[in-house]
Amino acid sequence: MVALDLDRQTLFDWLLRLGDNALILGHRTSEWCGHGPALEEDIALANTALDLIGHCQMWYTLAAEVEGKGRTADNLAYLRDAIQFKNVKLVELPNGDIGQTMMREFLFNAFHFELLTALTGSTDPKVSEIAAKAVKEVAYQLDRASDLVVRLGDGTEESHRRMQAALDYLWPYVGEMFLADATDDALAEAGIAPRLTDIQTKWEAIVSDTLDEATLTRPDRRPDVHTGGKQGRHTEHLGYILAEMQFLQRAYPGAEW
């Protein structure tokens, strides 16, 4: 029984990582709504945000079911504090300019796409079902983000400079996505999730092709400087996201909306 409970907790934690990545990146992306650099981009960014929030709902619903304590997806989104959030730090960083936003989307989506693709073959049918739904949308997000990275990298002098700066800024955060801990290992053992080293290899290929085409230089810096988000050790930014996002639920406990 102890082992079973432990497994359940591990699976729950791992599902939260998926849900939290989607929610927090969705939140950041939604901040663009009404402020995009062109009407068409404004609409596209809202689509991305809508997709991600949809994904987090699916992962949270499954997480709550696994946990078995009667919590809902909304409870998980709105009533946990920062140390209980398990997203990688990369997704909670501020948007910066539209270049930084698209670079982050690209770096994360390349990981997200490969992870979800692998998860469609998960031994857990509920996980593979959600992954199959989400991967179609993320495939499009990755196409769009990598296309924009190439175009802006190889655009004007200014757009090139901004994209290189964005890449340099985000690079020390990307390593966390592939840093496996006991949770990741346990999930891989069980065949539910892939080994993160396998995902990293595929990610490297996508990133290196795209950066080449974009005429951008891979930063000469460790990619795993800023880690810990998956274990609940976040940047200061997450607290502000949650303060804003959870305000109504916290100020009016138990109210229905």
Binding site: H35, I53, Q57, L148, R151, D154, T156, S159, R162, Q249
Partner: protein, 327 residues
């Protein structure tokens, strides 16, 4: 209504052509982009459709303001989808306007410089979550009053944009009203928020229809051209008649002591909004004019390098293809 106080331009065209043009409109024909039209008709339409388009994209801001604070994941998705629709509607309307021979960038420029206006309603702040309900219910409700008849407007691209917009907007007012229902039936604090939102948005919503124009020459010309279908007073009366029972169903009070049922006209008598406030807001002295226009200008200016970068890439690619083909 998203296009307020549209003054019509005079046309100095051949009277014979003008009469024939008017006859086409009177027969219910649609005017299409490449066809002859009086200069006044064209300029007035640019003003009206442009203002309508600007209102859609400025209208993203007061609601966009609450996307990151929406109280549930589902409410967040609905609100995001709705505000996204507004961007889409702006895009459709700008496209319709562009068929009249003005570019979208030029229209943006006129918005940013203050030469063109947007609806006064979006210069009011959204202070609580109940405002998301009030905006959907009242502001979209008022907009729909105007947009439904405009599906029959004489200018083809404008009418077609309206058809699409009305179809997509059908859920907007309803989602607002369901927020109001939840709030009105919720905790005492929620109900107080709902009443407060109604109090703040009632008169600004009535102002959306613009001051009475029953004696206005501009209005008469625009109605003859069928780019305006009803008078401001007709639409305002229709709006009040529909909204009062909806407010009562919610158990909320319309903030108007003079609201009484008039058996003869089968409609409600109601107080006029404070028109001096309306003109002050239009002139730039509303609570949020600077923020709204500032946000639009910032988005545009900050996006310049992005748009130019993409243009540069497209040009390079075209040149590369050409060079490649020449090899």
């Amino acid at each position: 209504m998203y296009a307020q106080m549209i003054t019509s331009e005079k046309s100095s065209d051949d009277p014979e052509l003008l009469a024939a043009f008017q006859a086409r409109i009177d027969r219910g024909e649609r005017i299409e982009p490449k066809e002859w039209m009086p200069e006044g008709y064209r300029k007035t339409l640019i003003r009206q459709i442009g203002q309508h388009a600007h209102s859609e994209i400025v209208g993203q801001l007061p609601e966009g303001n609450w996307i990151t604070r929406a109280p549930t994941l589902e409410r967040k998705q609905i609100l995001l989808a709705k505000v996204q629709d507004e961007a889409g509607h702006g895009l459709y309307l700008y496209s319709a306007c562009e068929t009249l021979g003005i570019s979208r960038d030029e229209l943006f420029d006129r918005l940013h410089s203050g030469a063109m206006k947007y609806s006064s309603i979006f210069n009011y702040p959204t202070l609580t979550w109940a405002d998301m309900g009030a905006v959907g219910w009242l502001v979209d409700g008022a907009a729909i009053m105007n947009q439904v008849p405009l599906q029959r407007t004489s200018y083809g691209p404008y009418a077609r944009a309206m058809v699409r917009i009305c179809k997509e907007e059908s859920f907007h007012q309803r989602q607002g009203y369901t927020i109001m229902m939840k709030m009105a039936q919720g905790t005492p604090e929620q109900k107080a928020m709902a009443q407060d939102a109604l109090n703040r948005f009632w008169y600004p919503s009535l102002m959306m229809f613009g001051p009475s124009d029953k004696d206005s020459v501009h209005s008469a010309q625009n109605m003859a051209w069928k780019i305006k279908i009803n008078t401001n007073d007709e639409l305002r009366q229709r709006f009040v008649n529909e909204t009062v029972p909806q407010a009562r169903y919610l158990g909320l009070e319309v903030p108007d002591e003079n609201l009484t049922w008039n058996e003869d006209k089968q409609g409600w008598d109601f107080s006029e909004p404070d028109w001096s406030e309306f003109f002050a807001v239009l002139k730039g002295d509303g609570p949020c004019n600077e923020e709204r226009l500032g946000a639009r200008r910032k988005a545009w200016d900050d996006g310049e390098w992005f748009r130019d970068g993409l243009t540069a890439y497209a040009e390079k690619q075209a040149a590369r293809r050409k060079a490649h083909a020449a090899e």
